[in-house]
């Protein structure tokens, strides 16, 4: 049994045109930088990308947009970049906007074998159009469906060779649910450890969900809003 692959190029083997991918991260925090670079290099097209955001013009998923690799984005908040807006307005790019909590829960459901669930979010708004709505205990709810993906591209802080993962700070965000919802889950880590180096009690995502793991390199970790106070 060996889940460890040498690098991002090897890790993304099998990703093809027209596939659906999940990409972890919130803004540029906790995004799979290495996997994105490898995707840009490999050049597959017509991808559907599920990710909370769509990067900025020259970083994150923005790099894939520049190469016109993305057919459709499923996100809660987009448009921090001009190329995205241009493609959207010209009709080259499709966007499905999903409330952030519903997006997180739909991905969680995808990994957890729950095909659908009810949420109060979006009832009475455009988001509920065409969806089944029903009352429970006097309140109205919208039925939302699970999301899954051919590949999930995840970034963790530490990971061991069995695929057990630990995240750092708010770089956790969508990564744990996506790790569980990918048919094949590819994880890049800052520290690749031996099994046993992580305490069983501190693991955020058990290795059972992870098919491939590799030691990431050259993390830029770009900051969108660098806000500081005087010491």
């Amino acid at each position: 049994m060996n889940k460890v692959v040498a690098n991002a190029q090897e890790a993304i083997q099998g990703i093809e045109d027209n596939m659906t991918l999940m990409l972890g991260g919130f803004g540029l925090c906790g995004i799979p930088e290495n996997a994105i670079s490898a995707l840009v290099q490999a050049g597959m097209k017509n991808l559907t990308c599920i990710s909370n955001n769509a990067g900025v013009d020259d970083f994150g998923i923005g790099l894939m947009l520049q190469q016109r690799q993305v057919k459709k984005m499923i996100s809660s908040y987009v448009g921090e970049n001009a190329e995205f807006e241009r493609q959207l307005l010209s009709g080259e790019l499709e966007v499905d906007l999903v409330p952030q909590g519903t997006l997180a829960e739909r991905i969680r459901a995808g990994g957890a074998g729950i095909p659908a669930f009810y949420t109060p979010t979006g009832y009475g708004t455009e988001v509920a159009e065409g969806k089944e709505c029903r009352e429970f205990d006097g309140r109205m709810y919208v039925m939302e469906m699970a999301l899954s993906a051919d590949f999930a591209l995840v970034k963790a802080w530490k990971g061991d060779k069995h695929g057990n993962l630990v995240f750092k700070g708010t770089a956790r965000n969508f990564n744990p649910m996506m790790a569980k919802a990918g048919k094949i889950t590819v994880v890049e880590v800052e520290q690749l450890l031996e099994p046993g180096e992580l305490h069983p009690n501190e693991i955020h995502v058990p290795g059972v969900y992870v098919q491939r793991i590799f030691q990431g390199v050259d993390y830029e970790k770009r900051i969108e809003q660098r806000t500081v106070r005087q010491a």
Binding site: C29, S75, S76, T102, E126, G169, I223, R226, A231
Partner: protein, 219 residues
Amino acid sequence: MALDKYGIAQRIAQELQDGYYVNLGIGIPTLVANYIPENMQVFLQSENGLLGMGPFPTEENVDADLINAGKQTVTTLAGASLFSSAESFEMIRGGHIDLTVLGAMEVAQNGDIANWKIPGKMVKGMGGAMDLVASAKNIIVAMRHTNRKGESKLLPSCSLPLTGLGCIKKVVTDLGVFEIKENAFHLLERAPGVSVQEIREKTAGALVASDDCPEMKLA
């Protein structure tokens, strides 16, 4: 005189209670954090996965892996916790957050809110706003009373696509504090120096306001 954004934030801070878990939206709501009374413990939630958010970091403490929902670098306070986005919205959807403060483009007299989409303009998305308004027990809208054209944002009904239905109970604007009930905006307090007459003129939705409405007190 109408409040500036700091005044609105300061007034909203008076709604805080000791031990409250609070989600502050981007913009004016974020400023509320600057006015938490010294003797009070309030826990700020950021929906990207942080409870117990602290102030901005000093230059040497900036950590790219620690940001808030506005993508700003932040810090954690003692007793903070970190978690996934799914867990974060379990907290929100499950009604565990005591107070949510967010901005709006329009609020209607029945409590509807619109704050995510303007037809004809590039739509950036609702982020966590729809979850927050659908779930919170206690939501305060922080906004200017009128838009850039001088038109009232307190309306008989929203004209923009909705974010949530009948969910807003309280609005704090630069002109006053309003409770929404019985299909009307009830004026609770005037901003210092603002007349009930001015508020009447600038409120398009049904307004219930008594001429002796008290003036708000800001420290």
